[in-house]
Symmetry: C2
Subunit: 508 residues, 2 copies
C-alpha cells in the first residue's frame, strides 16, 4: 500500500566549492519522482532549514494534477509523521477523519450538520437559490468551507497536529456538493442534459479555496450528474471490480444511487426515491436525530413497542422507524398488502383530523408525547409505499438490464445512513430490497468517507476509480418504457408478485 | 514564434442526451495540449460561460511547472487578445512592460526606483538586514511586491486592460532580487559556497505571492549566485549560442557580470567592480538622475563643458560623467597615466579641503552650484581607476581562460544602464573596455527586461535558456592566481601595456 501523499527523507551532500548546486536543485536531484514542483512555501523553507539540518531533511510530496507538489521541507527524518484528511460532504451532514497514513490509524473523527441546510434542507432548494441570486453561490460555498474549517480544527486539536501536517486531503461528495465546495454553480447538475461544470474537478490546491493548508485537495470524480464522487467512493468499498458474479451497490435516501456489476461490466443508475424514506413526508416524520422513533415492534400479543434514538421521549419517527412500522404492521395484519389500514386490528389505529384534506383519516398512533398524539396516516403510508417501490424498481431495472436474476447476486452493498440504520428484515418485508439470503447484505455505513479514506491510504485506488468511471454504463431510468409500470407493480407489500418474496410469505 | 502563453478558441459541441460530458472534460478533450490543469477560477467560470456562449469559448493556457494551467474561460473568440507582462527587478530600479504577445507590441512601459533602496542602496545591506532580523525578509518582499503592483496597475490602466488579461509574466532579476521577490532568504547568495535556496525557482502562481493575477510567473533561472536570471535574460539578447566566433557580454555596475562564448562553449564570471562606476564614491557622485553631470568634454581650447541629465543645474556627477571626465582629462593632459592630477594644466584643478583626511588635496572642480563647488578629488580618481581596472581584468581573464585574443572577438555586448549611457570612446580611452573596432560594440540597454520579453514572445527561448544554464562554465576570479596582479597592471590609463590600446595612443 502506498499512501496518496509521501514523505521522503533525504540525506543530501552539503554544498562545497566543487558542488554549489542550489537548495531546490539539490533536493529535486535527490528525488526519484519526476515532475516535482516546489510550492512557494517549500521554496521559502529551504533556507535556513537545509543548512540548519545539515542537509538532512524530510520533504512532503502531495499529488498534483500533473506530477507532484513538494509542499514542505522539515529538518531531520519525519517520514513517519505523514497525515491526511478524509472528508465527506453530504447534503445533510459533513464528516471528517484525520488519518495517520502509514498505519491507517484514525486519529480523530468529527461530524456536523451541513450549515447549508439553513438555506434549504433539499439540495434542489440550494441549486435554485443560486439560480435566483448568484450571490448565494458564494454564501453556500462559505457555509461549507466554514464547516470544513471547524471540523478540521477540532480534529487537529484532538490529534495534536497542525494544519501544515496535513499532506493530502481527499473528498467524497455528490456532484452538487462538490460544485458548492469549489464555488461552482451546479445549475447544470439539475438541468438537462445534465452536463455540469465538471464530473472530475481535478486536483486543486487547498490555498485556492482559502483554506490554511499546504496540501492539495483531491475531490473524487463523478460518473454522472447524479452519480457523484460519493458513489465512486462507495464503489471502492465493494469488490465489484474484481468479483466474478454480480454485486449490487445501493445508496438510498431521498434519492437512490445504485450500481450493479462485476469485473466485466458496471451498470449505474440514479433516481428520486422521495423524501418519505428519510421521514420527510409525514407530519411527525423527522430526521434520525435524538428523540426519533427508530425501531418499532409489534409483539405476539399485538402490542406496539417503540424505541427512540438516545432513549429520549418520542418527538417523531425517522425512516428506519417507518420501515419497521409498516413491516410490523403488515405482518400483524394492521395493514393490508395495498397499504390500507384495518381499523379494528389495533387500538393504535384511529381516525385523526387532517387539516389539509379537512377530513378524518385513518392513522397509526404510534406514540404520544405530553398528551399529543404522534401518528402516521393512511396518506403517509401510501406515499411511503410509492418511495419504497421506486427503490425496488431501480434495483429491478438494473437486474433486468444486465440479465442477472436476484438469485445470481453475490453481494448486496448498502450504503448511507438510511441503509445502515434500517432493520434489514423490515426492509425486505416491505419489499424495498430483494428477498436475498441475509448474509449477502453488506452494510457499508458512510462509504463516501470510507472511500475517500481508502484513496488516502492507498493510491492504487485512483486506478480503481478510473476503472469505475470509464467502465460505467449509465442506465437512464426515465428512458425505460416499463419503469413506471414496474413501479406500480411494486406499490404493494411486499410486491404484487408475492413469489418474489418467499421469506416474507413464510412469515405472514 | 510561439508565445509563452496561449489562447485557444474552441467550438465545442453542445451537450445533448447522447453526449453529456461535463464542461471541464469537454474543454480538455478538445485541446491538443496534454497535462492541462484547470485552475479553480477557470473551473468556476465554466458555468454559465459555456452555455451562454453556446460552447464557443476561448481558453487561456499559461505554462506551469509540469504542463499547462488553464487559467481563464472567455466567451467567443478572443485569441488575439493575448497579453503578457515582462518585469525586470533590479536592485536599484524596476521596469515593467505590458505586451501584446501575438504582435510583440509594447502596450505600456513603466519604471520606478526599487523601494527596497530605503532599506539599503547596496544589495548587501539588504541581505544583512535579513540576517539581523528575519522580519526584514517580509518587509523587503512587501516593498518589491508593492512596487510591482503599482507599476502593473499603471501599465494596465494605460493599455486599457485588466489584471485578468495577463496570461503570463516573465521576470528577470539577479539571484538576490528574485529571492526577495519570492520571499526567500538570500543569505546563501552571499555566503560561501554560494548555494542559495534556488538558482531556478520554477514557475510559481502569481496568486501564491498575493498578486491579483490569474497567471503564473516564470522567473528566469540563474547560472550561479552572482550570475542571475537578469544575466540569463541578457544572454538571450545576444547570438552567443549560435555564432562561430566568440562574443563577449558585459553587464557592469557596482558588480560586473560577464560571459564569453560562441556556439561551442560559454564561460561566465562575476566580480565586484566597486560603487565608483555608478558614482557611488565621490562626495559629489550620484546616480544617473536629473541634475547629474552625464557628459564632460574638454575642447581644443582646454575649456571644460558639462551636460546634465534633463539640463538641470548640476547637483553631482554620475558614472558616465566620471568616465568622460577622466578620459577627457587624460587626453587633455590634466591627469597622467597613473591618474595623478597636473596642478597647472587647468584652472579647474585646485586644492580642496577634504575633511576625512584633514588635508587639502588636488581635485577637478567640474562645476559649481549656488556658489558651492562640485569636485572630483585625486582620491576619487584613484578609486575609480581601481574599479575600471577590475572591469578590464574580468574581461581579460575570460579572454585568457578561453584562449581568445581581443582581435578574435566578433561582438562585444554591453548591458545595463551604465553600459548603455556611457560614452564608448571615453570608456575605451580609460581602458575599461578593450580597444576593439567600435562597430563590434552592441549596446543592449536593459537586457534583463528585454530577455524576459523575448521569453514571453517566443517560448523557444526557454530551450536557449536551458542551453545557457547547462553549458556555462563558471570561472571563479578569486581562484585565478594572476587576477590581482593583472588588475594592478590595469590600474593605469588606459593600461600599463599601452600597446593594448593603439587607438588611444594615436589620439593622445
Amino acid at each position: 500500500m502506498t499512501a496518496l501523499a509521501k514523505k521522503v527523507y533525504l540525506e543530501l551532500p552539503a554544498p562545497d566549492e566543487a558542488d554549489f548546486a542550489a537548495g531546490r536543485e539539490r533536493v529535486l536531484g535527490a528525488l526519484d519522482q519526476k515532475n516535482v514542483h516546489l510550492t512557494l512555501r517549500a521554496l521559502q523553507e529551504l533556507y535556513p532549514t537545509l543548512p540548519d539540518a545539515h542537509y538532512r531533511v524530510t520533504v512532503t510530496l502531495c499529488p498534483a494534477e500533473c506530477g507532484w507538489d513538494l509542499i514542505r521541507v522539515e529538518p531531520g527524518d519525519t517520514h513517519d509523521a505523514l497525515y491526511g484528511a478524509a472528508l465527506d460532504i453530504g447534503s445533510t451532514n459533513l464528516a471528517i477523519e484525520l488519518l495517520h497514513l502509514p498505519s491507517g490509524r484514525v486519529l480523530s473523527h468529527r461530524e456536523c450538520t451541513n450549515a447549508q441546510t439553513a438555506m434549504g434542507t433539499n439540495i434542489l432548494d440550494r441549486i435554485f437559490a443560486v439560480k435566483e441570486d448568484r450571490k448565494n453561490l458564494a454564501r453556500l460555498q462559505r457555509l461549507v468551507l466554514d464547516d470544513v474549517c471547524a471540523l478540521l480544527d477540532a480534529c487537529l486539536l484532538e490529534a495534536g497536529l497542525q494544519p501544515d501536517d496535513i499532506a493530502a486531503m481527499c473528498v467524497g461528495g455528490n456532484t452538487t456538493m462538490i460544485h458548492f465546495f469549489l464555488g461552482c454553480d451546479p445549475w447544470l447538475v439539475f438541468q438537462k442534459p445534465y452536463a455540469p461544470a465538471f464530473f472530475n474537478p481535478g486536483i486543486q490546491p487547498a490555498a485556492a479555496l482559502g483554506l490554511d493548508l499546504r496540501c492539495n485537495i483531491l475531490c473524487l470524480p463523478a460518473v454522472a450528474n447524479y452519480l457523484g464522487g460519493d458513489i465512486t467512493a462507495g464503489l471502492l468499498m465493494t469488490d465489484m471490480d474484481t468479483r466474478e458474479d454480480a454485486a449490487i451497490f445501493l445508496d438510498i435516501g431521498t434519492n437512490g444511487e445504485l450500481a450493479l456489476g462485476c469485473r466485466d461490466y458496471l451498470l449505474v443508475g440514479a433516481g428520486a426515491a422521495g423524501p418519505a424514506l428519510e421521514g420527510g413526508v409525514s407530519k411527525s416524520g423527522m430526521r434520525a436525530e435524538p428523540g426519533a422513533v427508530c425501531r418499532v415492534r409489534i409483539d405476539e400479543r399485538n402490542e406496539l413497542h417503540v424505541q427512540t434514538i438516545d432513549d429520549l421521549p418520542p418527538e417523531g419517527i425517522c425512516g428506519s422507524g417507518i420501515v419497521d412500522l409498516i413491516a410490523e404492521g403488515y405482518l400483524a395484519g394492521w395493514l393490508n398488502g395495498d397499504g390500507t389500514l384495518n381499523m379494528g386490528a389495533s387500538e393504535h389505529i384511529r381516525m385523526v383530523w387532517e387539516a389539509e384534506s379537512h377530513a378524518n383519516i385513518p392513522a397509526i398512533v404510534y406514540a404520544s408525547r405530553a398528551g399529543k398524539q404522534l401518528y402516521f396516516t393512511q396518506n403517509d403510508i401510501a406515499e411511503f409505499i410509492r418511495c419504497k417501490a421506486a427503490a425496488h424498481t431501480m434495483v429491478a431495472t438494473l437486474l433486468d438490464a444486465s440479465g442477472v436474476t436476484p438469485g445470481q447476486i453475490g453481494a448486496f452493498y448498502l450504503s448511507g445512513g438510511f441503509g445502515t440504520h434500517l432493520n434489514l428484515e423490515s426492509a425486505i418485508t416491505i419489499g424495498m430490497y430483494p428477498d436475498l439470503p441475509r448474509e449477502k447484505f453488506r452494510i457499508l455505513g458512510n462509504s463516501s468517507l470510507a472511500g475517500a479514506k481508502q484513496v488516502l491510504l492507498d493510491a492504487e485506488n485512483l486506478a480503481r476509480i478510473r476503472h469505475f468511471v470509464q467502465s460505467a454504463t449509465y442506465v437512464q431510468f426515465g428512458e425505460i418504457d416499463t419503469f413506471l409500470e414496474n413501479m406500480r407493480a411494486a406499490q404493494f407489500l411486499p410486491h404484487t408478485n408475492a413469489s418474489l418474496y418467499p421469506s416474507v410469505k413464510k412469515r405472514k
